[in-house]
């Protein structure tokens, strides 16, 4: 058992004995480390003012990601490299290329959002030398700026490489040395952060994790913290004791088994997106619109499922694809279809001492028809009103042999439309059949009714999504991906 949190902060190695196990990284940076360059603009992952870059070893490779430090717990950066705006400082006092680009393009006005924007762009640049417009917009989707109108920032993002070479950046040039230092911080010991009987336990192996969960069945499990972090910052809930899953490398694995994709529960949305994109482009778009870049970097597939929200984006898609999850308790494991995991509102089939270990997503056969839609009020950084994900197969007779119609936002849990599926079976994939299926939705669902969308709206949308599915799969000429289409010919590209 190790009792100190160890990480790299810029060039220094930091070891922290006993600290509040649920302190956020942002609070620690600002209050304890007195690194006040990183700002708080919302403390709920929406504005990006708190963005820092986190370096971690992933499959032996050093990988940097922008994250929201406001909802990230300090204890969870054990073994990582924390890079804040202060660490872009160069010994000769000159500005970093990202900073030079921001100044040259007048990308800062009041400067409050600026550190977060610089760090978002820096993380982007570390991964891509010359990102295109779409990548830039995606990377900035999690950052708000009230002053600049963004155009100068986008121009700066495009022009970073005009001010310096990526391979000369210290994090790239010294990647091996940094990786070596991170390796020395890594161990198989379980990390215990404890203060006044409140603890956070962070095992490093799956087995240790399994033991820990059995021992502390009432502990809050913490993965990316993009849901749990808000319980701390917004709801002021005491989540201790906490079991942190993020140190377990094996849980982050994504594996292509040929017939199926196997996701460790701790795989983040960036990696999940890459893998799911190979199944269907609409899954790619779904994940592109999942939170902002910082949320996608931190949030995990397991967290999105285990959170049990009726409007989580992945469950409907995974249910439609026929995903199963493996739940583990101690050495015991059980596999259940994902839809069975969701019992009632925020009540899941997770027994005491269990955690989700892996998610298996069978690859659909080539003739399967697939559709995934996220309907929300805005394109990115928004919560779904309705999420619809469908998989349909026709038999040799051309009639529907299998239909899996999963919805989010339509009930207290992500849920399949059992009656609609049944009625479609054995029928032609046609307007008439879809009309019948839509009729069944009223029986299948009692949609949520809240300020984000009324029950009637949700019911209408759900039916229309089925119609859209039909149109898309029967007439290639009909473009129904309206949002995507619109953005594809966004005029800015023309202006280069």
């Amino acid at each position: 058992m190790r009792r100190t949190i160890r990480f790299l902060l810029g060039e220094e190695t930091r070891e922290i004995e006993s600290s509040d196990p649920t302190a956020t990284l942002l609070d620690w940076l600002r209050a304890d480390a007195r690194l006040t360059g990183t700002k708080e603009g919302c403390a709920e992952g929406d504005c990006g003012a708190c963005t820092v870059a986190i370096g971690r070893l992933s499959g032996g490779r050093l990988r940097y990601e922008a994250i929201n430090s406001c909802i990230r717990l300090l204890a969870t950066i054990d073994g990582c490299h924390v890079v804040t705006i202060e660490h872009l400082k160069r010994s000769d006092g000159s500005l970093h290329p990202v900073q030079q680009a921001m100044a040259a393009h007048h990308g800062s006005q009041c400067g409050f959002c600026t550190p977060g924007i610089v760090m978002s762009l820096y993380a982007l640049w570390l991964n891509e030398e010359r990102p295109d417009e779409t990548r830039i917009e995606d990377a900035l989707a999690g950052n708000l700026c009230r002053c600049t109108g963004y155009q100068p920032i986008i121009a700066a993002a495009r022009g970073i490489s005009d001010f310096g070479r990526r391979r000369e950046d210290p994090l790239i040039a010294n990647a091996d040395a940094i990786a070596a230092r991170l390796k020395t911080l890594r161990d198989e010991e379980t990390l215990l952060v404890e203060q006044e009987e409140r603890r956070l336990i962070a095992p490093a192996t799956v087995n240790a994790l399994a033991d820990a969960v059995v021992k502390e069945p009432r502990a809050t499990m913490l993965a990316g913290g993009t849901d749990v972090g808000l319980w701390v910052t917004k709801e002021m809930r005491d989540i201790a004791p906490v079991i942190y899953l993020g140190r377990v490398e094996a849980l982050k694995r994504v594996e292509d088994r040929g017939d199926a994709l196997i996701f460790g529960a701790g795989a983040n949305h960036i990696d999940v997106r890459k893998a799911l994109a190979t199944i269907h482009p609409q899954l790619d778009e779904l994940m592109r619109r999942f939170g902002g870049e910082q949320i996608r970097n931190a949030g995990t597939i397991g967290g999105n499922i285990a959170n049990g929200s009726p409007i989580g984006d992945l469950p409907p898609a995974l249910i439609a694809l026929g995903a199963t999850i493996m739940l583990r308790r101690g050495a015991g494991r059980r596999v259940i279809p994902l839809e069975q995991f969701f019992i009632a509102y925020r009540k899941q089939d997770r027994r005491a001492g269990e955690f989700i270990e892996t998610i298996t997503v069978p690859k659909p056969p080539p003739d399967a028809l697939i559709h995934v839609s996220k309907v929300s009020k805005r394109f990115d950084e928004d919560i779904s009103s309705v999420c619809g994900a469908f998989l349909l197969r026709r038999g040799p007779d051309g009639l529907v042999a299998e239909a899996r119609l999963a919805f989010g936002g339509m009930a207290a849990t992500p849920k399949r439309a059992a009656n609609a599926e049944t009625i479609l079976k054995g029928k032609p994939w046609s307007e008439e059949s879809v009309a019948l299926a839509i009729g069944c939705l009223a029986v299948d669902f009692k949609p949520l009714d809240d300020m984000r969308a009324s029950a009637r709206y949700r019911a209408t949308v759900a039916g229309n999504l089925l119609r859209r599915f039909l149109m898309e799969t029967t007439d290639a000429a009909i473009a129904t991906r309206v949002a995507g289409l619109m953005r594809a010919d966004a005029p800015r590209a023309a202006h280069g």
Partner: protein, 788 residues
């Protein structure tokens, strides 16, 4: 051997007025070295947290602090009654207009905290001080409120109706000011003989201002000196101190020091004292410790001030030739639950002076009622009535063109004031001095390829998009004359400090003012610094607001430079041992006419500083501190042209092309100018297309987070085509007209006109802000149904 360039060599070409110099501020800000209020840390600082009303309207029965005080780490807790008893004064509106009937307007009573009634969700009623922010927060939650619920008055029209719930017992109809401007009879007569009358009911939607930096303060009290120090983001420390010391603390101003560091945006919001600041000061005095307060985002949605929130019935009368005869505006301004310092200005006088815009208008009548509602108080927001006035006019022009069956651009041409008609006295009583409005509009139409629009519309149509073209001409009247300090101080290290009372919160004053001083005095740009946020250093200061910073502080810097030169001639005469009449000033140096003997201005300052004795009749320093009388109001104007595409299937609107030509007078720094315009335009796009404040029927704010309140993000903003057509004004020595608010005035107008133009293809003639997808889709849908 090549000489190293002298870093202090003056290069007016590179650093003078008109150059696109990257900002002095940037190296600090892009490094994250900006010091915003919450970044400050005072030894032994403690924290306060606010207790706010959970309901929109109610009578306070009791507030029980006991449970909060019992929490470990809590140092004190106070209610509104405590503060009132401690003798703090009231927040008062500074507007001076009378009611229509000549009687004074009604000033609702507001003490720092609510003590008898709560009037909006978020109304602060008590606060707790504790050793940490978290303990303070926890304790604030533990405060038990017993509030008897009263029915709320939420919508303006309902609030003025007979029988409506009253917010204040002494304000029977919830109206604080019944404002009227113009000649009702003459206006009615003009309408009577009109050939066409355009009529629109317009809503200027309420918005949450949301600067990215949350409100905060750090308060200290020195008992020995009986002196208060408050670190707080403001728009100018001088005016802030006057209000705090004079109205609230009731002490002489020298008893208070206001310090403002970096400010993370304001847009009008931080112009005056907020209740929480008083609470922090109170705790600092009672506990003898520095007290920190920082708001959090969720409460900020209700506890900051909101912007806009007006409604009008607007009418424009035209003769058979399309000439404007008269304009009449009748409506309401929503004040929210209390009057903010300038809260009544945007919906009254600022409508009058801006609605006339750049057009010949023989008659004008404006009747606006300032209405109290059980919602968050409304204050200034970027433009504060300027975008609104222009919005009314530009929407009416489009409507007039529609009913008269003429081209709206032609209608503008007919009515725009021509250069030869200047100076022109508008119906607001204000005299326009410069501007070439039609030429500016033509330039914009050319730049936007207006000719090619029909084809672009056809192309969009083929893809299932309704394309619209929107014109937004605007002319705004900036803040009127207020005195401003012009200070120039020569530092011992050879640097020069400008001291003035406007305050930068993103505009780049340190850069533009240095450009001005550099050009005037010939001192190197790099050597110039700006001191702005320290009330002890100021002898005057109107602060930032109403697009006045360059007009006021720029002019004050010019006046101070002139004084430096005037004094410098005397001192150079002494230094060079000749009569001051033989001294001339050029390129940063005082020289003896006809010789090469000279002394640089910085060198002279040093010699004066080090002199053992100076002649009796010579100034004792080259430093200058003066109060400059505020130059007159100016009239920045422009033409913004917006093209939108509306997705017929979803109702989603995207700005796909945006062109603007502006006349903001002399351009000091085109880079900063573009920045101000971009930011303003995007805030306008936010209001026009996405930002929506929703209260439920109990007065609870439903859109209280960035998830539910839609702020523009990177992918919402268009590429801008920006051109300038400066017509410098002669009303101030620089010829500047101000630009801070112009972007909003151009964008809400052009964007909304573009949306209506797009929708006109299916017969829609008006839509209110924000044109959200849902609202647009509904209109499209209804129009289609009607057509079918």
């Amino acid at each position: 051997m090549s000489a190293r360039p002298d870093p202090y060599q003056f290069d007016a070409e590179k650093f003078g007025v008109g150059q696109p110099i990257p900002r002095k501020e940037d190296p600090v800000l892009v490094r994250g070295e900006g010091r915003y209020t919450d970044d400050l840390h005072a030894e032994a600082q403690i924290y306060i947290a606010m207790v706010r009303s959970p309901i929109a309207h109610g009578r306070i029965r009791s507030i029980d602090l006991e449970a909060a005080l019992a929490i470990e780490g809590v140092l004190g807790a106070w209610t509104g009654a405590d503060l009132k008893d401690a003798g703090y004064g009231r927040f008062v509106s500074k507007i001076t207009f009378p009611n229509r009937d000549g009687s004074p307007y009604r000033q609702p009573e507001r003490y720092p905290l609510a003590h008898d009634r709560v009037r909006y969700v978020g109304d602060p009623v008590a606060f707790v001080a504790a050793v940490s922010a978290n303990v303070a927060k926890e304790a604030a939650e533990a405060v038990a409120l017993d509030i008897e619920s009263l029915p709320p008055a939420l919508e303006m029209a309902d609030a003025v109706a007979p029988g409506a719930a009253r917010l204040y017992d002494d304000i029977p109809d919830n109206v604080t000011l019944d404002y009227h401007h113009g000649d009702a009879e003459a206006t009615a007569a003009a309408f009577a003989k009109a050939r066409h009358v355009a009529r629109l009911t317009l809503e200027d939607s309420r918005v949450v201002i949301n600067p990215m930096e949350l409100r905060a303060c750090l308060a200290q009290y020195d008992a020995g000196r009986d002196h208060w120090t408050l670190h707080v983001p403001t728009q100018g420390v001088f005016g802030y101190r006057a209000q705090l010391a004079g109205d609230i603390l009731k002490v002489p101003p020298e008893k208070v020091t206001i310090l403002t560091g970096h400010v993370g945006g304001s847009f009008g919001m931080r112009g005056s004292v907020f209740p929480e600041h008083v609470c922090a000061l109170h705790a600092a005095r009672l506990l003898g410790l520095p007290v920190k307060w920082t708001e959090e985002r969720t409460p900020s949605f209700v506890s900051d001030t909101h912007g806009r929130a007006q409604r009008y019935d607007a009418e424009l009368a035209l003769d058979e030739a399309g000439r404007f005869l008269a304009l009449r505006v009748t409506g309401f301004g929503d004040m929210g639950a209390y009057l903010t310092t300038v809260g009544m200005m945007p919906s009254t006088r600022n409508i009058v002076v801006n609605v006339c815009s750049m057009y010949r208008l023989p008659q004008l009548e404006v009747s606006m009622r300032c209405v109290l509602t059980n919602k968050t108080p409304v204050g200034a927001y970027r433009g504060a009535g300027r975008p609104e006035g222009n919005y009314i006019m530009e929407r009416l022009i489009e409507e007039a063109a529609r009913i008269a069956g003429v081209d709206s651009i032609e209608l503008r041409r007919i009515n725009q004031i021509r250069p030869q008609e200047l100076p022109y006295k508008a119906q607001s009583g204000i005299v326009y001095d410069t501007g070439d409005f039609t030429a500016l509009m033509e330039q914009a139409l050319e730049a936007a390829d207006h000719q090619g629009f029909a084809q672009r519309r056809a192309e969009s149509g083929a893809r299932g998009f309704l394309r619209g073209f929107g014109v937004g001409c605007f002319l705004e009247a900036t803040a009127g004359a207020t005195t401003e300090m012009g200070g120039v101080r020569f530092e011992e290290d050879g640097r020069v400090t400008i001291i003035t009372g406007t305050l930068d919160y993103g505009q780049g004053h340190a850069t533009s003012l240095a450009q001005i001083l550099s050009q005037r005095l010939g001192v190197p740009f790099e050597a110039i610094g700006l001191l702005q946020g320290d009330s002890d250093q100021l002898i005057a200061g109107g602060g930032t607001g109403g697009s006045r910073s360059m007009i006021a502080s720029g002019s004050a810097v010019v006046a101070a430079s002139d004084k430096v030169i005037e004094n410098g001639k005397k001192l150079a005469g002494w230094a060079l041992e000749v009569s001051e009449n033989d001294i001339q000033f050029r390129n940063g140096a005082f020289s003896i006419v006809g010789t090469d003997r000279s002394v640089g201005v910085i060198e002279l300052a040093k010699r004066v500083r080090e002199a053992k004795s100076l002649p009796d009749d010579a100034p004792k320093t080259l430093d200058v501190k003066l109060i400059n009388e505020g130059p007159a109001m100016t009239f920045p104007n422009g033409c913004h042209l917006c093209e939108v595409e509306i997705d017929e299937a979803t109702g989603a609107t995207q700005v796909v092309k945006y062109t603007m030509v502006n006349d903001v007078g002399t351009v000091i720094n085109p880079l900063l100018l573009a920045g101000q315009l971009h930011g303003g335009v995007v805030q306008g796009i936010g209001q026009a297309l996405m930002e929506r404040v929703v209260y439920d029927e109990d007065g609870q704010l439903l859109t209280g987070s960035f998830t539910d309140y839609c702020m523009p993000r990177a992918d919402d903003t268009p590429f801008f085509e920006v051109e300038h057509r400066p017509q410098p004004t002669s009303s101030n020595p620089l010829g500047v007209k101000g630009v801070g608010e112009a972007g909003c005035a151009g964008s809400i107008t052009s964007v909304m006109n573009a949306v209506v133009d797009a929708l006109s293809q299916v017969g829609v003639t008006h839509i209110d802000m924000p044109a959200t997808p849902a609202k647009v889709w509904r209109l499209l849908h209804d129009a289609k149904r009607k057509a079918a």
